[in-house]
């Protein structure tokens, strides 16, 4: 009986996992609102949704890392209340998180059995331990040396070892949180092979991912969450890619597509202006396991959007442009002059600026004042021995506090005490103070309230009008459409296509995000083959 057939006979096997009406409240936020979810034996069930949809909260609840505010979880008909990872494992629910929880310096066998080693008289019984580890690996159909340390193994094999560890405690349910996010195509293939085997052995597998093609390659059913609520559950065959993307983003695709999705474009988008080199241009910029080579350019007074789902390679591309990571291929030019690879200082000196995605861990000095945070980049460009006079610092701080309407008690307030929107404005002010040629904004409106968001959007339009070249990354499609002249659409870490002018609207972007790749058999395109 194929999984699909099994699904058609729900009465024949009651759901293995039955989550009913789960609510998860954090202070001030409802992360999950009466979400229901079920998983059958021998099924791979994809759980999808954009950032903040509630996937990871649901996974944590299943794994026992968090207890829901309300709702029930039944396993094979009996209610369980997992209180810890160990407790959940004792019930047969094992979770492999995205950041693979293995000890890199220990051997494969030790990792599989850590904390559950068979002992006699207090001493570990090595032969029995190895036998158990070997048995767990056999279930996945892989053969690796039990004595290799985990850090020597490729990421995909590490994933499999983590799954083996999960199986070693008699798992009936396997929850995989973004297992393929750092795998290439052949590695993903190996993993899927193993998952299919487990499915045949009757395991229920919850598969959390961002990669649309992978879902169609392996999942039997798809549940979509959005903003903490369940949008729906479909069998994979019954849900088109467009419908899936609509469900995830909450935006409807127009019935009529604007033509077929463009093939991945190898040429820079649009024709470069004839008279002057573009403000920022990149040619075949790529990095192994991070982003497939991409070419782009953006001129002064123009805004280029980088659109795509989370994990599509947007941030990776931005970091390459800014020199924060060194590319394996390609190069970046600013106003026609090539930048040395992988140097933030060179990029800043040439007039490139970037506000990072995670403003707290990568951008702001939280215990420093608004003024100090604002002057930091300008000061860095001037060098330490040419300090900005205090009066100039005060003037800059006062100017940007007023110009960007930063709501702070004063320029000497620690930035950590400001709201998210105002923190973002401080970060913007820091880079505006260096008067950059190109401004790269990675998710500038994430996690900030509506009012501040509107202000930041106005500001971006204003900067564009004043001749700055802008590269904008946003998960909000409407933002890209409203603010950008052109958009580069990324999908599964490759450039899926480009849209400009009239053609740039939400449904076109969505269609491109959802389009099946040229070769449908590939789960996600390998980054290596072109980079190498």
């Amino acid at each position: 009986m194929t999984p699909a057939e099994r699904l058609n006979h729900p009465a024949a096997s009651p759901p293995l996992v039955d989550v009913r009406g789960v609510v998860m409240d954090y202070p001030g936020v409802r992360a999950l609102d009466r979400v229901s979810f079920d998983l059958a034996r021998g099924e791979i069930h994809a759980l999808m949704g954009e950032n903040g949809a509630g996937k990871s909260t649901l996974v944590k609840i299943l794994a026992g890392r968090q207890r829901p505010t309300a709702g029930t979880i039944r396993l094979g008909g009996t209610e369980i209340r997992p209180a810890s990872t160990r407790h959940a494992e004792a019930h047969g629910v094992s979770t492999v998180f995205q950041e693979i929880d293995l000890v890199p310096t220990l051997s494969v066998a030790d990792n599989i059995c850590l904390g559950r080693e068979p002992t006699r008289l207090g001493l570990v019984r090595r032969p029995r331990l190895r036998a158990r580890a070997a048995a767990a690996l056999r279930r996945l159909g892989i053969a690796i040396d039990l004595d290799r340390t985990v850090e020597e193994l490729p990421t995909a094999i590490q994933q499999l070892v983590a799954i083996s560890r999960a199986l070693d405690c008699d798992a009936r349910v396997l929850v995989l949180d973004e297992p393929t996010s750092s795998l290439d195509a052949s590695e993903t293939g190996t993993l899927f092979e193993a998952l299919r085997r487990l499915r045949e052995q009757g395991l229920g597998i919850v598969f959390v991912t961002h990669f649309i093609e992978q879902v169609y390659a392996i999942a039997d059913r798809i549940t979509v969450l959005r903003n903490g609520a369940r949008v729906g559950c479909w069998t994979t065959a019954a849900l088109s890619r467009e419908a899936l993307v609509s469900a995830m983003t909450g935006r409807r695709l127009e019935a009529v597509h604007r033509g077929p999705a463009a093939a991945p474009e190898r040429e820079p988008i649009g024709a470069p202006a004839a008279h002057a080199p573009p403000a920022l241009a990149a040619r075949d910029l790529g990095r192994r396991r991070s982003i497939h080579p991409v070419s782009l350019h953006v001129s002064c007074g123009e805004a280029l959007g980088l659109a795509g789902l989370l994990g599509s390679g947007r941030t990776e591309l931005a970091r390459l442009l800014f020199g924060a990571d060194a590319p394996d291929t390609g190069r970046v030019e600013v106003e026609g002059r090539p930048l040395p690879v992988g140097s933030v200082r060179a990029a800043i000196a040439a007039g490139v600026a970037m506000t990072p995605e995670d403003r707290k861990s990568q951008g702001l000095l939280l215990d420093f004042s608004v003024r100090e945070n604002i002057v930091l980049a300008l000061q860095s460009r001037r060098g330490p021995l040419h300090p900005l006079p205090r009066a100039e610092q005060d003037r800059l701080a006062a100017h940007y506090i007023e110009a960007l309407a930063i709501a702070a008690p004063g320029p000497d307030t620690p930035v950590g005490q400001l709201s998210g929107g105002n923190q973002q404005k401080v970060l913007l002010a820091r880079w505006l103070a260096v008067q950059p040629v190109v401004l790269i904004l990675d998710e500038p409106t994430r996690g900030i309230d509506v009012g501040a968001r509107a202000e930041i959007e106005r500001l971006i339009l204003d900067l564009r009008a004043r001749g700055m070249a802008i590269v904008l990354i946003s998960s909000e499609l409407d933002e890209i459409v409203r603010l950008c002249d052109r958009a580069l659409v990324l999908r599964d870490r490759t450039a899926a296509g480009a849209l400009a002018g009239e053609a740039l609207d939400e449904s076109a972007v969505l269609a491109m995000v959802a389009a099946a790749p040229a070769s449908a058999s590939i789960a996600n395109r390998t980054v290596d083959e072109d980079a190498g």
């Binding site: 970037m354 000095l365 930091l376 330490p384 000497d412």
Partner: protein
């Protein structure tokens, strides 16, 4: 002064705590003198507050604090930027001994005293350079790198002097520790320390070096993303620390008119860390307070002088110091800070 003006009002500056500590220690001693049966009274002979003139210069417990605290203050000024970059320098005591040994040996070998002083300072800076390069470019943990110099540096100092105390008579070298300028009747170490405080504050706060150092310690990733040269800055912090340690070593040497490779700078690393931590610079890196470290050094010396006045041996002195460091660290630790932070209401 150590923190840019206007950024914190005076009572919020961490330097207040060590200053309050010094004041209360002095008062405590005075109270002891006054109330103890058979004690010297407030200003009697041997009293803590008593100032007498010896050889035309003031003397007494309070002057001792300024005198012996000077070297510690210089050490602490050097240690502050290192700790602000999330590092630590355990080798300062040995660098003190080494610098003293080099200077004394050179003077004894009839090298001009000014050249001997310069060489000793250069040796200190070179020690710091070794530490700094191994930490910032070699990627070895700071406490391991500096532990090596802490132990081996003392060995080298012994090799330099041939495992003996090298004594000398040299007016310039002696002046570094024992000098009392006619125009300013204060101990030379205190004057030097104050000058170093001024110079350090100028160098770090009148340029952007201080801000960058703090940025590297506060959020290394953010500092890298605005183009701060983190590695160079970290290495420079250790060089400065080595230089300060050498200067402190010269003072210690001058105080006894001899280089003692065994005992010079003993427990100095503890004293310097105490001063920095009590002065409001977190071992987790980030914000630093030079004035606080400066005051912290004199608090430590006040504590030591108090213990001497109460006949507690020098060898036991590290016990309360070590416990005090632990206490300050615990109060500033993430779990305790989180507990306190939950009570404090944040402005929106």
């Amino acid at each position: 002064m150590a923190t840019p003006a206007g950024q914190r009002s005076w009572h919020a500056s961490p330097a207040v705590w060590p200053v309050l500590g010094i004041v209360s220690l002095v008062l405590l001693n005075a109270l002891f003198d006054k109330l103890l049966p058979g004690g010297p009274g407030l200003f009697g002979p041997g009293a803590f507050l008593r100032l007498s003139m010896r050889d035309g210069v003031p003397a007494g417990a309070l002057v001792d604090i300024l005198n012996y605290g000077g070297a510690i203050a210089i050490l602490a000024l050097g240690m502050t930027p290192v700790i602000a970059t999330r590092g630590v320098d355990l080798s300062v005591g040995s660098v003190m001994a080494l610098a003293g040994a080099v200077a004394a040996s050179l003077v004894v070998a009839d090298v001009p005293s000014i050249a001997a002083l310069a060489t000793a300072l250069a040796v200190g800076a070179a020690c710091g350079l070794c530490n700094g390069v191994l930490v910032s470019f070699g990627g070895v943990q700071p406490f391991v790198v500096t532990l090596v110099l802490m132990v081996a540096g003392r060995g080298v100092a012994q090799l330099v002097t041939g495992s003996q105390i090298t004594t000398f008579h040299d007016p310039l070298l002696e002046f570094v520790g024992l000098g009392r300028p006619a125009w300013l009747p204060l101990p030379m170490p205190f004057i030097l320390a104050t000058a170093m405080l001024g110079a350090t504050v100028l160098a770090l706060r009148r340029t952007a070096l201080g801000l960058f150092t703090e940025a590297v310690g506060s959020n290394p990733e953010a500092a890298a993303l605005v183009g701060v040269r983190s590695r160079l800055l970290v290495a420079a912090a250790y060089v400065f620390c080595g230089l300060c340690a050498a200067l402190a070593g010269l003072i210690a040497m001058a105080n006894i008119k001899g280089a003692d490779p065994f005992n010079a700078g003993r427990n100095a690393e503890l004293a310097a860390i105490f001063a920095v931590v009590v002065g409001g610079t977190s071992l987790a890196g980030g914000r630093m307070c030079l004035l606080g470290a400066f005051a912290g050094a004199f608090l430590l010396q006040a504590l030591t002088t108090t213990m001497y006045a109460r006949n507690i041996g020098a060898d036991v002195a590290p016990l309360p110091q070590a416990l005090a460091i632990l206490a300050v660290c615990i109060v500033g630790s993430p779990p305790v800070a989180a507990m306190l932070g939950r009570r404090r209401k944040r402005t929106p």
